[in-house]
């Protein structure tokens, strides 16, 4: 049964605050306050007409507060899900078709993320005008630029290349 209909889930009543979707993806158990960064990672800013519902800082059993992002008409790729893990390591991904959750899985941290984050080191070659795609290896507690080797442990979301 889908999260959206699962009344054994203490979060369900709160989830109803944002509309159900027919087909698309529900990203649940996003850490509170990270929903907009999730949208940034997915490249969703509303300019392409995407139908998106966002719940922010809603009460949760698992976390004190969580965010929920529902994207109508779009099923996330594994690459997108992997990258989400950097800022939403506890997220669950629900693929919804005809109002039913047909797939549900946790995010997994990838070994490398490419073209998603910008290096914060102004001395890094990737911050110039070179034709190079940013690449970060994923550490247990952060990410590391594959070029200048700078390690970022906090505020990774601020590096999202939007």
């Amino acid at each position: 049964m889908s999260d959206e209909h699962d009344h054994h889930d203490g979060d369900a009543d709160h989830e109803l605050r944002v509309s159900k979707i027919r087909d698309g993806t529900v990203i649940d158990h996003v850490r509170g306050g990270q929903a907009l960064n999730v949208l940034a990672i997915l490249g969703i800013d509303g300019t392409n007409g995407e139908e998106v519902s966002v719940g922010m800082n809603v009460p949760s059993d698992r976390f004190a507060r969580k965010d929920i992002v529902k994207v109508e008409g779009r099923e996330l790729s594994q690459d997108e899900v992997d990258v989400l893990s950097l800022i939403a390591p506890d997220a669950t991904i629900n693929i919804v078709r005809d109002y039913d959750v047909v797939e549900k899985h946790r995010v997994e941290r990838p070994d490398v993320v490419e073209g998603v984050l910008s290096c914060p080191n102004a001395g890094c070659i990737t911050t110039g005008d070179e034709p190079v795609t940013s690449r970060f290896s994923v550490l247990e507690d952060g990410v590391r630029c594959s070029y200048c080797e700078t390690i970022v442990r906090e505020e990774i979301a601020s590096l999202i290349d939007t």
């Binding site: 001395g123 070659i125 110039g128 190079v132 070029y147 200048c148 700078t150 390690i151």
Partner: protein, 314 residues
């Protein structure tokens, strides 16, 4: 031709390092064994930052191997001035040369450049990142003077921006060494480097200090680097600490008679001239070693049957 790149000393195992140093010693003993071996080989020199020793020793090394160099020349008179990217520059010059030497002010420049070329590329310094060929001549000098095992080394000065320091520290983790890093707090080793050193050596043998005094008597080698005045936003802050990281004859009274003092040069006032004539001074010898060591690196890199990595395709 093998297509190896040398970007960072982290690539090098103890076996790789010994292979390079042994070959450098052979060349040092008898340069004629490799004279003319790489006739008609052209080495491309791409220096986006000023350089004297590194650039000239590469040029000398290539010529002593029988080859020649093509030199991009000063940045101001190159297409870089017109806004050409590093990626484009290396792709153009690889069409002229059999191997490339790149120095660039940005960290990660050599890594990126190596992704755009098929010829071997040597990192001759990338910003505050790495300088692995300097490390090879540093290790050669250390091995000649103090050996590379059961070694206590002090590395002092600008450890934050000092790429020679980072590369040397990584390479030394392959040996039985105790490394003491001495600097003002504002110029400590980057946390990334400390992280790597702890990963490579379980943290054992890595210590950080803000003063040389207590540790000096235990050192076999003291590797001094220039504290760069321009790194300090406040001149007064620089003046407060500068004197503490300079050495002179009085300083070395507390040192072992066998202490070897090194410096990648250029120096400004970190080492008093009075030390030059003592048995401690190894920095000019260190600079001279740049030629046989870079001859060895180039010979290994350019030989079909050798390669920097020895017999393996690592």
């Amino acid at each position: 031709m093998r297509h190896d790149h040398l970007i960072t000393s982290k690539q090098l195992s103890r076996g790789n390092i010994e292979n390079i140093l042994d070959h450098a010693a052979e060349i040092d003993d008898d340069p004629s064994t490799v004279a003319g071996r790489h006739a008609e080989t052209l080495l491309g020199l791409l220096f986006f930052e000023p350089s004297t020793r590194t650039k000239m020793s590469f040029e000398t090394a290539m010529k002593r191997l029988g080859g020649d160099v093509v030199d991009m020349g000063p940045v101001d008179s190159s297409s870089v001035k017109k806004g050409e990217t590093l990626a484009d520059t290396v792709r153009v010059i690889e069409g002229y040369a059999d191997a490339l030497v790149v120095r660039h002010p940005k960290q990660g420049a050599a890594t990126m450049a190596s992704e755009f070329v098929d010829v071997p590329l040597l990192n001759a310094g990338d910003g505050a990142g790495h300088h692995p060929t300097q490390t090879m001549l540093d290790l050669y000098t250390i091995r000649e003077n103090a050996g590379l095992d059961d070694l206590t080394i002090g590395i002092m000065g600008d450890l934050k921006y000092g790429r020679t320091v980072h590369s040397l520290a990584y390479a030394l983790t392959n040996f039985d060494t105790r490394q003491h890093f001495i600097s003002p707090e504002s110029l400590q080793l980057p946390r990334e480097v400390v992280y790597d050193l702890h990963q490579q050596q379980d943290g054992a043998g890595i210590r950080e200090h803000d003063s040389l005094e207590a540790i000096l008597p235990s050192l076999d080698v003291l590797y001094v680097t220039r504290i760069q005045r321009e790194r300090f936003p406040d001149e007064n802050e620089y003046q407060k600490i500068a004197g503490e990281y300079q050495i002179d004859a009085d300083t070395l009274e507390a040192a072992s008679d066998d202490l070897t003092v090194m410096h990648p040069l250029p120096r400004v006032d970190e080492i008093a001239p009075e030390i030059d004539e003592t048995d401690h001074a190894a920095y000019f010898e260190q600079a001279h070693n740049g030629v046989p060591v870079r001859m060895a690196l180039l010979d290994l890199l350019l030989s079909d049957d050798k390669g920097i990595w020895g017999d393996s395709d690592e």
